[in-house]
Structures are given as structure tokens and as C-alpha cells.
Symmetry: C2
DNA sequence: GTCACTGCAAAAGGTTTGCAACGGA
DNA sequence: TCCGTTGCAAACCTTTTGCAGTGAC
């Protein structure tokens, strides 16, 4: 629940309002353990709170993403999905079988890119790294866990 | 022009046809020096060959991408763009100022991810790495080169 | 001549926007 | 009360699809 508290703190600080639809969305989002798309969230929301509109879902995702509370994950097909994020810089291992996401830091990529950048005279401002594969459970079974 | 020849060779081998619209598209694509979107390509095509339809543009991009002749680049906003690619595995440095793309191989990321994967029991099948920043020219000027 | 390819138009997604009403602070 | 937020519906934008006609081989 720490994530939710963090988000609410931020919103308060910025004079945003903690409305009921917003709060409902936050709780559903906090419950996800894999990346989710906007439409998926909308569908889930409809189940519990049918009165919440599609626009609210999109606007909320936008808000959370712009504040760094959600990270975008690029799916194979280019569709964008979101994952709950803390504010540190992270990368993701995405399991193709079960959809599970493992985040990792310890970003040695920085030094890798650093050397490269020096060589090319490129000034790096940010990067995106994501790996796809099968998580421990799924690599031991033929079907998703 | 090497890229075009390569593409045509592949298409021939696979019993695809080198039609006039296809050929026109190839030439325009080969001329790009930055990532381009489908709509951008369509617009450019319209200028020179107004009779070519949107569907053909999308279908051609799809074909080229599926054969590895075009690589997808994720833009900041999540929009997908394409860059001319050869068949090796590559990563890209994308200049935010001028849009220039520098590809690099020497993928030390593999070893980095390898260690990580072992630790987590994750079986990696592929990864995506992309860096954003300013290229040599643009980091020396305030305006895009 | 065959069949991959084409343009068109319509449909299908996914996302954004305008607006009047609503309701947190 | 004030103004950020909401739901709705319509608009938008990008991409896909069905189909009859076309043209590369």
C-alpha cells in the first residue's frame, strides 16, 4: 500500500484531488503484478465500478505516468503497457509466458553506454532497456505458471 | 543502394513481386537518415507518387520489418518509428535534437543481462536497448544540426 | 494465366477532447 | 465557493481488412 500512499501524497502536494474514481483506480492499479494496458485497466474497473469512464482511466494513467508513478513498458507488438514503479530508474525483465515483470536496477548499462557515448561524442540523456524471455517458473514448464 | 539490392534479393528469393509501388517505397525509405513513422512515409510518398495507397505503405513496412530490413524504434511518446537496418542485432542512439540515429553493435548488454538472468533464473530470449540524447553535432550547438 | 499485390473504402482499435455537471478542499 | 475532475459522446489518429481489379513473373 506504500505506493498508493506515495501517490496520494504527491497529488495532495500538487493540489490535485483525491476523488473517488481516482482512488478506485489507484487501488486496482496497485494490485497488478504484471504490465497492464489502459484498456485492460478500463475493463477491470468496469467490473468493480461501472460508472467510471474510459476518459478518466486514460487521464489518470497519464497523470501517474507523467509523475513517474507508472513506467511504460514496450510490448512486443508495440502496444504500450504500464507497470507500477517507484521513482528510481529501473529496467524490466518481462516474461513472455506469464507476463510477469521483474524490475532490476544496478544499472551497469550506464557505464556501458558511457563508454560508447564518449567514443561517439554522443551526449546521453536517457535510455531504455528491456529484456524478454521466460521467468524461472515458466522456463520449467511448458505452460504459463 | 546496397540495402535496396538486399531487399530485392530477399523478395525475389521468397517469390514476392517487385512491383512499382513497392519499388518506389524502397527508394524513399532508403533515403531516410532518421527514424520515420508510417504516416510520415505515406505523406512523403504522396508527394512523389500520389497513387500509392496507405494500405500499401503499411503492408510494405510490415513485410520489411518482418524480414529484418527495418528495425522498430520506440519514440519517447511510444509511437513506433522505423529505421533502415541490416540483419545484425543492433541498438540505437537517437538524437533528440536532430533525430539522427546511430546504430551500434558490440553488444556487451548480452553479458550484462546474462549474469542477471542467471541470478534470477530468467531465460532471456531477446532484449531491447535504446538511448536518447544529443549527437556530437547537436551537443555543440543549441539548435539542431 | 496465375496469384501476389494494389487502391479504395470501410472498419477496427486505441486515445483524446469538448462540454456541462459534479464534488473535493 | 472555486476550480480540478468526471462521464459521456463524438472526434481523432493510426492501423487493419475485405474486395474486386491489376500487373509481375
Amino acid at each position: 500500500m506504500n505506493w498508493i500512499e506515495g501517490v496520494i501524497g504527491t497529488l495532495n502536494k500538487e493540489r490535485h484531488r483525491i476523488t473517488r474514481p481516482r482512488s478506485n483506480l489507484l487501488h486496482i492499479i496497485a494490485g497488478y503484478r504484471s504490465p497492464f494496458t489502459a484498456e485492460q485497466l478500463y475493463a477491470d474497473v468496469q467490473g468493480k465500478h461501472p460508472s467510471i469512464g474510459r476518459a478518466t482511466v486514460y487521464r489518470t494513467l497519464d497523470l501517474l505516468h507523467s509523475r513517474g508513478w507508472l513506467a511504460r513498458v514496450h510490448r512486443d507488438d508495440g502496444e504500450h503497457a504500464y507497470v507500477v514503479a517507484d521513482s528510481r530508474h529501473q529496467h524490466y525483465l518481462v516474461c513472455k509466458a506469464c507476463g510477469d515483470v521483474t524490475a532490476f536496477e544496478g544499472c551497469d548499462v550506464d557505464s556501458l553506454l558511457g563508454g560508447l557515448a564518449r567514443r561517439l561524442g554522443f551526449e546521453i540523456e536517457g535510455h531504455w532497456l528491456e529484456a524478454f524471455g521466460r521467468c524461472r517458473r515458466c522456463s520449467h514448464t511448458s505452460t504459463p505458471a
